[in-house]
Structure formats: structure tokens, C-alpha cells
Amino acid sequence: MADKIDLLDIEVWDGNMAASQAMRQAQIDVVAAYPITPSTPVVQNYSTFLANNQIDGEFVMVESEHAAMSGCVGASAAGGRVATATSSQGFALMCEVLYQASGMRLPIVMHVVNRALAAPLNVNGDHSDMYLGRDSGWIQADAFNAQEAYDLGLMAFKISEDHKVRLPMMIHQDGFMTSHTAQGVKTLSDDVAYNFIGEFKPMNAMLDLDRPATHGVQTEEDYHYEFKARQHHDLMTFAKAKTQEVFDEFETLTGRKYSMIQEYDMEGADIAIVCMGTSVETARLVATDMRTKGIKAGVIGIRIIRPWPFEEIKEALKDVKAVAALDRSSPNGALGMLYNELAGCLLQNAKPSILSNYVYGLGGRDLTKDNIKQVFTELKANADTGKLTTPTQQWISLNGEALNFF
């Protein structure tokens, strides 16, 4: 039996510690992991728990992130609770196995501490790795701060391990900005947290020796399409419904409310910024300032990136005149992912908002309140004139010559 930790009601944790504590409280059977900046402390914290008998599962310290996810897949298929953490290049290295984890319907939970992708090499936060995983069949949730990394870290097991869902789930947090910034985090006691998550209930477990299971079969043109269709269906329906259900249960338990998209100052908003990660909190501050000046500005933070909250966004933006999509990943030859996803939603509204795209913060470049203020100012001009007054895509805070397209 692992020893429990008596947590304070509010602990001072950074995002990595918040993630580690959620993993510890879930009483995971197997963690297979490999350290990489900025998620390294998750692996280190977990090692410390092990050294102090605060976890009783297996901790397999593998030789690469590809092996980390391979070990997680084998362990999960064997039939038990499994989780890991990674970032950036490590995430890219395990990409092959991410698709296999979701295709084999294995409920693995992974904290992804977001960081830029090389080249040039960079250890700081942006969303390049998050975007790389967006077609991998995982449920993707985004935490904007340490509290949310902890809360989502608990809820993820309950969502992912549901027998109708059986899909792996990532919890994203911003590298350094969230992962290494100490904040007050409201905690649940070990017992309350574990009881909320519940015991792991195996399904198609390889270790069910009287009912052997086969995982990772070959299919060609005869069945592959149907497998993928079913997976997409379950992600779109069961995963989404279960996520909302778990959000509701968590609110009943803690009073902390989560939803597919987080809306701030959106009542009667004329203009809105849609973004992810720590930028949501910066944008909220500026929106509040704007409101005091009589400008009806609001912010939408994307909580669940996959399955994409199409209806929720469509509804939230239906009366908004101008919208900015803030992408923290280089689109490399296109408009940003958020821009494109939002455009799909807006297109179905009777009066589609005027949509513009801002690329920002690559490799850890700061996004300041002034930057956000400038975006809102441009959005206001778009709203007032009823047309796009700027290029469709602009790069914020870029040194040297301005960069814009379309």
C-alpha cells in the first residue's frame, strides 16, 4: 500500500507538480515515461513519490518517448490504469504510437507540457506539439493554468476509461508559463480524488487469461475504414457526452465549472478573441479593461480541442461581429488551425463574424496585454466598418519587418 499525502486545501504548485499530484492520486498501475523539458519535473516528481512509497504502481523509466508510449500501449492493453507525460520533440517521437494507442482504443492519459518544435531548437512554450497531435484520435483538453492541469488531470481518467469511450486523452498546459510557475492550487484529499476517479475497470484485457484478447490486428480495405469510422463516431458522441458528464460531476464535487469552451465577458460581445493556453488569461484581463471603456469585448478559451466543440462555438459567436483566432503554432503555408476550425463554425451562422488570424508567441515569445489590446482595437475597426480592415493573417510581436498574408 502506498502512503497517502495530507495535502493542504490550497497548495503552491506549478503546473508540473499539479499534473504529478493528479497522477499520484489516480493510483496508476503503470507509468512508462522519459524526461523532456519542460515536462521533466513530472517524471522527477513521480520518481520522488516512488522513492517515498507514495505510489504503488510500476514506474518504467524507458529509453525514449517512443518507448514510453509503446510501454503505455502494452501496459494498457494488458488491462490497467496507465499515464505518462511529455513535450515537444518527445511528443513528435511518440507520434507513431499515439495513433496506435487511439486505434487500439486504449485509455491512456498523457500530460503534454507544450513546447516549440525544432528547428531551430527551442525549449520554450508554444502549441506546435499540441497541433501535431490533433488528428491522432486522442481526446485533447487544454489547461490554462496549474489548477486546471490538476482538475483535468483527475477528470481525464474518468472520461478516457469509460467503456463506451476507451480513447486516450491528453491534457495540455503551456511550457514554463504554466508548468514552471507556482500558483495556488485547490486540492482534493487523496481519498476524495481517488473515489471521484474510481477503480479501473478492465475491458479486453490481455491479462484476462481465461478470455485472451488480440490487440493491433491487420485490416486492409475491407475493414480499416469501418474501424476508423467507429472510432470517429465514438469520439464525436460518447467521448463528448462523457466529458460533459464528468465536468458536471466535478462541479458538484468542487464547485469548479468546466465546459467544452470557456466563455469570458461574452454576454452581448461585439468582438471576441479565441485562443488557448495561458493567453486566455491575458486576453481576459484585456477584455475586462475594454469593457470598462465601453467596448464589448469577450474571450473564448478552447477547453476541449478534440472532439472539436463545433456547435458550442457556432452558438457562442452567432451575434459577434468580429472574431480573432490566435494561433501559437506556425501554420507553415496556410491560415492557422484555429482560424480554419472557427471558419467552419462561422460559415453556418446567419451572419458570419468577420474572422482574422493572428500568429503569436512562437518559441516562447511573450504575448503582452498591449498585443491583445491591439488585436481588440483592430477587431473593433472590423466590427464598426463591417469589413476586414487588416490582412487576414498577421504575425504579432515579430522583430523586423511586419509579416502578414491573405
Binding site: 529509453e63 492493453a77 490497467g80
Partner: protein
């Protein structure tokens, strides 16, 4: 502790319960199926099995069918070892916590071809052995990427004509010598590594059972004659395998705890290497006069390797 199955003779063996279904898609004459069947039949314990992408995998688990009477997993080309290590870790964790579904202790076995063992999956296997998982890794070594049509691997021996090292007017085929995987795995201080061949089935079963009784990572390099890529008649698999072991191209030996090397088969009549090479289409071009030096080189290297093995056996290093 694994249950040691007593098998006295070939007839008894041929009638022992099959845990690997004969209904699979492997080529007629493929040694893979012989080896896998023998390994599975060597124990009555439950098995948790993994296969890397390759002939064995694509021929035994084509949805909605399976040839495996045990739990089985395939992830990718490089990681059957780590998949099985993950399953073994899960068993360990659940046993400690008292949450196992079944109270029996299974054995954990991963299979890979030489491509997924010597080449693409090398790092994963090394990691598993360094960490000391209680598992067996079996390389079905047919010295070529057979599943994808016969490209060379780092297990392809000198002079072999493959589709990526074809013999031609200016080439005698593969130029490099095969990687010594057994020594590499022994150098991980693995408690048990062994080379086996399906024609020497008693020797093979004994080694597999030793492997199952060993705690920690066990590496088995199984020579798997490939009728398609080695180019011989499907009826001749065992005959070609006999030539391989009797010419000492595939010496049968084991290494215990990284140092104690035992030769487990000494042919009464050692046959010339060229007899083994001559039985296979992949070496046909070596019998042209301009390639005579490659035949000489082959014999020289085989003799040297056999000499080294004997000296290591004697010196216990």
C-alpha cells in the same frame, strides 16, 4: 516457476496440443510457423505474446481472424519488445496491488524478425534488457526483410543477393558481415541468450524451457529458413536448416549470465559452407568464377567464428 513440459520424441511432440493455429497465411515451408509452434508448445503456462510488424504478424492476425490461442498484441515494426515489457510491468503492478483478473502467472514473449530486431527495433530491445523485464524476446532470423519483398537487413550475410543489394555485373551482393546479435545481447548481462534452429528441435525446446525458467530478460535468436527469399523448394526447409547447422554457419550455443558460453551442438560431420550456400538461390551468383573469393571468405569467417566459440567455451569468458 514455469511448468516444464516433458516431450520425449518427435511423434509425441507432433501430437501435443497446438497453441499456434496451423491456419495462418505464412508461406508453405516457412520456418517461422515451425519455430513459433514449438516455442508455444514448450510450456503449459499462459502466455502474453507480442509480434512486431513482419511476416509473422501480417500472417496470423488478419481481422477478424487470429492464429493465436493466447493474448497477443502488435503495435509497430520496432516495439513488440516494449509492448510486452509494458504488459509485464502491468502484471507486476496488479499482482502487488492484488488486482489481477487471473491468479496465474503468465509468461511474456515478444517476437520480431531480424529487421525489427537487428535494425529498427534494436534500441527498444536494448532498453527492455537493460531494465531487466521478466520476458523472452525471440528473433525469427531469416536474414532479410522478407515481408516487404526481400530488402537487406543488418542480419543479411555477405554475398547474399537481395533486392537492395542485388548481385550484378559489378556486385556480388551484400558486402558486409552479419551483426553479432547474440554477443550484443549477452553484453547486456542478460541471464540467458541462445541461438536455436528448428531442425534441432530437442536442442531448441530445451533452450526455450531454460529461457522460460529463467527470471529476467531472455534473448533467443532463431534461424528461420525463408523459402521465398533464400530461394529453395518449400519442401527443403529442414534440409537447408540441417546444412546451416552442420556447416556451422548457424552454430548452436547459449550464453549464461553474459559469459558462460556452451556449444550445444557439434556436428559429427561438418559440411563445407559452399554446400549450404549452393542449396539457395540467393547465393547462386557466388559460384561464378569471379566470385570464388567470396566463397573462400565465407568458409574462412565460419571457421574463425567456430574457433572463437570453442575458445570462449573453454575459457568461460
Amino acid at each position: 516457476m514455469s511448468e516444464i513440459k516433458k516431450i520425449k520424441n518427435l511423434k509425441e511432440f507432433s501430437t501435443s496440443a497446438d497453441r499456434f493455429e496451423g491456419a495462418n497465411l505464412l508461406c508453405p515451408g516457412c520456418a517461422h510457423s515451425i519455430i513459433v509452434r514449438e516455442i508455444l508448445n514448450a510450456t503449459n503456462d499462459d502466455l502474453i505474446l507480442g509480434s512486431s510488424t513482419g511476416c509473422l504478424e501480417v500472417c496470423t492476425a488478419v481481422y477478424p481472424y487470429t492464429s493465436w490461442d493466447n493474448s497477443w498484441i502488435h503495435i509497430g515494426f520496432e516495439n513488440s519488445s516494449t509492448a510486452i515489457a509494458g504488459a509485464e510491468a502491468m502484471h507486476k503492478a496488479k499482482k502487488r496491488k492484488g488486482t489481477l483478473i487471473s491468479d496465474r502467472d503468465p509468461k511474456f514473449v515478444a517476437f520480431g524478425g531480424d529487421g525489427s530486431t537487428y535494425d529498427i527495433g534494436f534500441q527498444w530491445i536494448s532498453g527492455c534488457f537493460e531494465r531487466g523485464h521478466d520476458m523472452m524476446y525471440v528473433c525469427l532470423d531469416n536474414e532479410v526483410y522478407a515481408n516487404t519483398g526481400g530488402q537487406r537487413s543488418s542480419a543479411t550475410p555477405i554475398g547474399s543477393s537481395t533486392v537492395t543489394t542485388p548481385a550484378g555485373s559489378h556486385s556480388y551482393g551484400e558486402k558486409k558481415d552479419k551483426k553479432d546479435m547474440l554477443s550484443i545481447m549477452a553484453a547486456h548481462n542478460a541471464p540467458y541468450v541462445a541461438q536455436v534452429a528448428p531442425n534441432k528441435w530437442k536442442d531448441m525446446i530445451k533452450k526455450i524451457q531454460t529461457g522460460f525458467a529463467t527470471e529476467g530478460p531472455v534473448y533467443i535468436n532463431a534461424m528461420s529458413a525463408c523459402t521465398t527469399e533464400w530461394k529453395f523448394d518449400p519442401a527443403d526447409t529442414i534440409a537447408v536448416s540441417d546444412l546451416a547447422t552442420d556447416s556451422l554457419v548457424f552454430p548452436l550455443y547459449e550464453i549464461i549470465n553474459g559469459t558462460e558460453l556452451n556449444i550445444t551442438y557439434r556436428p559429427k560431420n561438418i559440411v563445407p559452407v559452399k554446400d549450404y550456400l549452393g542449396a539457395q538461390g540467393r547465393f547462386k551468383h557466388l559460384f561464378k568464377p569471379e566470385n570464388a573469393h567470396v566463397l573462400d571468405e565465407w568458409q574462412k569467417r565460419t571457421d574463425a567464428k567456430w574457433d572463437l566459440l570453442q575458445r570462449r567455451e573453454e575459457a568461460r569468458v
